[in-house]
Structures are given as C-alpha cells and as structure tokens.
Amino acid sequence: MTTATESGFADLPRLLSLMTGDEKHSAASTSTLDVLWVLYDRVLDVSPSRMRDPARDRFLLSKGHGPMSYYAVLAAKGFIDPGELADWGSDESRLGMHPDRMRVPGVEISSGSLGHGLPLAIGSVLGLRAQRLSRPKVVVLVGDAELDEGSNHEAIALAGREAMDQLTAVVIDNSSSTHGWPGGIARRFEVEGWVTRVVDGRDQDALAAAFTEPHPARPLAVIAVVEPKD
C-alpha cells in the first residue's frame, strides 16, 4: 500500500505537466492534489470497473474549475488514458475546463457553476438510503470561496438534521473567499450538527485519518487547509 502510494503519487507531476506544459506547478493549481490522491488511493471504494455498481463510493467534485489535479488522479487510477491529458480543453478532447460526467468515465457530476455538488451529494445519500444502501460513502469537494453560494447552506442544514453519516464534505481552504468566514469554516458545519476536522491539506496521513475515523450518525466536514491563494 505504502509503496504503491508513493510511486503512484510520484507520477502525478508528470501527468500534470502534460496539461500545464510546466515542470513546476503553483500551489493554486495543485490545491486539491493531496486530498484527491488520498481519497482515490486510500479512502474511496471505487474503481473504473465499478462505475455502474450501485454500492460504489461516490466522489463529487463540486469546485469544478482547475480540474487538472482531478484529471491527473483519474488518469493515475486508470479511469482515463494519460494520453488524453495533453490536449485537454481542445475541441477534440472530452476533458474540459469543467468536467462533464456524460463524457468522462469516473466523473460522478458535471460541475462548473458553484454550489451544486453538496446539494447533489445530499440527494445521492437520500437515494442510497431509500435503496437500503447504507455503506457507500458520498464525498464532495468544495472550495472555501464556493461556500459563498447560499445553496450550500441549504444543504449543510439538511445534512445535519438528517444525520447523514454516509456524507463527507471536504472544504479546500485556500483563503480565497472575498468576505471570509470569521470564527472559521468548521463552525458553519458544527452548528448544524456535523463532525468537523481541520487538517493540513498537504499532510496525506492526517487527511487519511480525518476521512476514515468514524463519525456515527453525523455527517463529516474535513477542512483541508492549504497555502492561501495569491
């Protein structure tokens, strides 16, 4: 596991370079990279052959912009061919500036407009529940600025009240929200009944622990703090 993790993660800069053309990547372009890698490598029970399996875990990328890290991880995990990365965003590519679930294997939701992933995740958990599928996890990634969208707060309240222990929201906090969150992002979730864990978004072991330690009868919010946006 450890060896696979190291070699797999070491491949990501090369995959990213196929898209960016640069050897070196800015913090902004990789703010989600460690979180995504930990999720796909150590947390989510999902694989390219199981995308029609109702019992698979779901990962919903709500913050759809800057999807290079997402595409790189999907390529590393065999969902897409690394050869597709180089011309991403072109008319001939199916990899857009925002991912499209109808075109890209492994992509659970089409995103781009902010504030849709968490509400869709709530609906997905309700759908799994109604079908007596109590084990699959639904993990949704949002950005700290994305929380500006009011639709998230409709969702945060309901998830807490519905005691959704199948749900995890991971907030990539790169301090990019224009008006900020006095008292911290975690408080917005805590007051609605969520378990919250604030971790270093570059510390993969801490992230893995935050994602996998139990949170019975309550949804989980992991606040992954990374370098502030320039």
Partner: protein, 296 residues
C-alpha cells in the same frame, strides 16, 4: 377533488407500489403526504423552505437510480431554482417529474410573487422535456401516472382552473370541426374556448400535453379545414408555443394569433382568477372577440 388533491392522493398510492419512487417537497403539501411519509419515511422527503435544494436533491436521487417527483408552487419550482433544473437535472443527464400547482394566477390575491405565467416558456429553453397542462383532475391523474414510468424530465402544470369534463386521449384532440380556421385550446382554457366558439365555423383542438408539440395533429387539422389560420389559447405566457406553430408550418404560408397571459405589463391587481382572466383577455368574451376578428 382538485388536480392538486388528485396528484397527492395518486402519489400516496404510487409510493406503495414502486420502491424507486420518491417525492420531494419544500413544505408545500407536506401535510397532505404525512400519512405516506409515515409508511415511507425514506421516500417522502421534505427539505423545508429550500427550493434550490429541492431540485438538487431530486438530481442526487436520480443519480442513484431513483425516480424523483418534485412538487411545490410553480414560481418556486421553476423560476426560483431554474439553474438547478438546468444543471442538476438536464446537464447531469438525469430526469425528474416536476409537478407544480398555482399556475399563472390560481392564487390571484396572493399577488405577483405567487404567479408563474413564465414557467412553460422557461422549461422550453431546455432540451427534451415533456410538458403536460391537464385541464381536469382525471387528466392530471393519468398524466402523473404515465410520467412515473421512464426516466425523462417531465413538467406537469396543475391548476385550480379546470374544465367540466376530462379528455384523456393523447395528442391534439379534435373537439369541434369548422372551415374558417383552427383554435388550439391548452388545458384549463378549453371550456372557455368551447363557449367562445360555440356556433362558429372553426375547428377546436384540445391539448393537455403541449410538449412534445403535436405538429402533425395541427397540420392534419389545418389540411381538413383548408385554412392555415391558427389561434393558440394558452393559460400561461402568450405565444409560448408560437415557435412550434411556426415550425409546423415552415413550408406553408400561415397566420397565427396567440392568446395567453400578457407579456407587456406587471399586473399588480389582486382579486380572483376571473379578474385575471379578464385582465389578460382569457375570459370567454375576450376569446370570442379575438377569434372572430382573426378568423373570418
């Protein structure tokens, strides 16, 4: 029973039969489905007064293979969360059945905030929707049951305005034949149209399903009539279906008069449905005058 009561009792029954069905509410009509919720707590879902979440939850449910039925007043079902309809249903490639009540001005004295004459026009901006505008509770029940099958997006527009008798056949139904032109009555406008055209030499078609638009049915009626002069009477924004008539007669010279809720003014009056029919020219007399002036 009203269309809305019929819809709710229909869902109460349907939930017992199909385990993939879920009803999503935003407080409106939650009391009427309380008994169903006791039997099916995981499939009668009330998100509170959160209409963006209302639609997104339906999208999420559909992503897991459920068939969601979403219900509230038209203004809060279609207009307020329009981007959620566009993205969390259509763009995700999943389907739901949206069932509104309130129509253009059922709640006339509640004012503009509770009036939604633009709903069908907004849905028309999105691809691949079926739109039902029942004119009778029995039609509503039939159309709701048919919509539960399949996985497409369906909009069902219920109203407190209704016709005396149901007309259950699919497509545009011919209720009167004449030689001076064709009047298409949509949903609850039918009885007023029949009264307005009584004794006149016009064909009257009735539509409780307006999308897909039955262009073949309209063309057939025009061929029998011999005159490509059409009056559309719709209970929502005037001219909502005008594009579809134009497409149906793309190769035929034709004339069209569109009656419906007027677009040109913010109607601030209260009163009742009849007052608003009058304000928009959708009362029997106004329809009769408009038809007589246009089809001669």
């Amino acid at each position: 029973m009203s269309m809305r009561e019929t819809f709710l009792s229909t869902m109460d029954e349907a939930l017992d039969v199909d385990p993939q069905l879920a009803v999503v509410l935003a407080d409106i009509s939650a009391d009427q489905l309380a008994a169903a919720k006791l039997r099916h707590p995981d499939r009668v879902l009330n998100v509170g007064i959160r209409e963006q979440l209302l639609i997104s939850v339906a999208g999420g449910l559909a992503l897991t293979g459920m068939r969601p039925v979403v219900h509230t007043f038209a203004s809060f079902l279609v207009e307020r969360p329009f981007e959620q309809i566009k993205l969390d249903l259509v763009h995700q490639g999943v389907g739901a059945v949206l069932v509104s009540s309130g129509a253009s001005y059922d709640m006339a004295n509640a004012g503009r905030t509770h009036q939604s004459p633009a709903d069908v026009a907004l849905i028309d901006t999105l691809p691949c929707w079926t739109v039902h505008v029942p004119g009778h509770a029995e039609e509503a029940r039939r159309l709701v049951l048919e919509s539960l099958v399949g996985d497409c997006n369906v909009y069902i527009r219920l109203s407190e305005q209704a016709n005396a008798a149901p007309h259950l056949a699919p497509g545009f139904q011919t209720l009167q034949r004449g030689r001076t032109g064709v009047v298409v009555a949509v949903g609850p406008t039918l009885d007023k149209v029949l009264a307005a055209t009584s004794g006149t030499d016009v064909t009257v078609l009735y539509a409780s399903t307006i999308r897909p638009f039955d262009a073949a049915g309209l063309r057939a009626a025009v061929e029998v009539t011999g005159v490509a002069d059409v009056v559309l009477v719709e209970p929502y924004l005037a001219g909502t279906s005008a594009l579809f008539v134009a497409d149906a007669f793309a190769d035929v010279p034709h004339r069209l008069r569109s009656l419906g809720v007027r677009r040109g003014a913010e109607v601030r009056g209260y009163g009742d449905m009849a007052d608003h029919d009058l304000a928009h020219g959708l009362d029997e007399t106004s329809i009769a005058v408009a038809v007589k002036e246009f089809l001669r």
